[in-house]
Amino acid sequence: MNKGIIEISPGFEDVMPREYIDLVNDGPYGRKLGIDDLGTFKEAIEEHPLCAGCALALALRLVLASLPAIEDTIIVGSTGCSSLAFSQVAIHNIHSLFGNQNAVATGLKRALQIRFPNKTKDVVVMAGDGAIGDIGLETVMHSWFRGENITTIMFDNEIYANTGGQESCMSPKRAVLYMAPTGKKFPKAAMPEVAHAAGCAYAATITPASPKRLGKIVNQAILIAREIGSTYIQIYCPCPTNFKFKPSESLKMAKDRVKDETYLIKEYFSPEAREFVEGLEKGGGN
């Protein structure tokens, strides 16, 4: 990143609103911060319009704090709850359409490789289960087949939350939802396995109830994407608004689902990615 884009031009320091002064003086750019540093710096997300108790909002906050180089990261999102928060995120991000995120990310990543051959620009897709598992699956899987150097992060709330609570391929079997009035007829789609089989160098699931592990997964997924190829992370983000539980119980829900094994924590490495991560660990990380 050109550091000047987060410095205020002389003469205008006094007129800039507080939130920008904070971003300049105390923002995350170029500082190698992580989950452990949350609460000690000005984060890249400002106030957002997501619901109380939204686990997606927490997951997004944790993901943003875990990016290995936020100052050179560009996010590609898609339509859904998460996209409502992205206009408040203080890094470049794209919303194009519903379900085309991985195709957009493919073009963007390649364009940035052309323009900045000597810099690393991380392109990270962040979208919901509808965008990734349903309407955008074609562009998602083909970006994996091609081995594009991008990380795809699914905020899996197991429902079309933004449109009012319809079934997605990631909803649990038998869940009674809009457009599944007699209960969902097929099990939750096996996206981590799909990712692995489609050639992702790394695929993992996690919940925001394990923030440190989430941070580590995000960090290594992006580093693997830089060096080896596509990576996939699926974050379970319980939705109190549509699944009708108390907003204060979102993290409990995440923990319970992991504990009773109705949400499976998984991790797949390609041999190359395994070797790469072991090298990172020996070398003391990035």
């Binding site: 050109n2 000047g4 884009i5 987060i6 410095e7 205020i8 031009s9 002389p10 003469g11 205008f12 007129v15 800039m16 609103p17 920008y20 106030e47 206009s87 408040q88």
Partner: protein
């Protein structure tokens, strides 16, 4: 609306004013400027800008991201020049740090947003404003909304080809052009002080 006689003037124009380009107003060629939809010389435009700003009750500058952020030497040089010009006029500076829609969370006292610039203009009773360092797309959107709902006189100092949705626009504006404009303002100020003294 009558396309032939369309004039770019302060509003409030109507519920949804048209884009001036769609009403036949054409941007100036290199070396020229636009005042209220008419092509004039740069000098004429600068002189009118000076008059408008010096005659204003609440002149305000809206610097945009391209000069608020120190991302290049040219940006910094331009920022300094704009600050000097605003100081010469005695104008207030209200920044447009980025383009994300903020309504209803906006504080119109301290910032302006291209998606709802009218809020800042109404709140601060701004009668003449200057846009500088705003990406052209967002500048045009904002200028049109201002014309639609406020009586503010808009001036756009554009680094590219200009803005027909502003009442006055200069094009290809570099730091030295802003400095030249500041000189015009200072000369007019001195002249008006002189004449007012003579009248005493």
């Amino acid at each position: 609306m009558n396309r032939v006689n369309y004039q770019v003037m302060p509003g409030p124009e109507c519920y949804l004013p048209p884009a001036a380009a769609s009403m036949g107003v054409v941007l100036p060629d290199e070396g020229r400027a636009l005042v209220e939809g008419h092509i004039v010389t740069q000098e004429e435009a600068m002189s009118t800008i000076a008059e408008k700003l010096l005659g204003a009750k609440h002149p305000t500058f809206f610097p945009g991201p391209l000069i608020l952020w120190a991302w290049s030497e040219k940006a910094v040089e331009k920022a300094r020049a704009i600050k000097e010009m605003a100081d010469a006029v005695g104008a207030k500076i209200i920044p447009m740090p980025d383009y994300r829609p903020k309504y209803p969370m906006i504080d119109p006292e301290e910032e302006i947003n291209p998606n709802h610039p009218n809020l800042t203009i109404w709140h601060n009773k701004i009668d003449v404003c200057v846009f500088a360092g705003v990406h052209c797309h967002y500048a045009n959107i904002a200028l049109k909304i201002i014309r639609g709902g406020t009586d503010c006189y808009t001036i756009a100092l554009c680094g590219e080809y200009g803005h027909e949705d502003a009442m006055i626009t200069l094009r290809d504006v570099r730091a030295q052009d802003i400095k030249r404009l500041t000189e015009v303002i200072k000369k007019k100020q001195a002249y008006s002080i002189e004449t007012s003294l003579m009248n005493v």
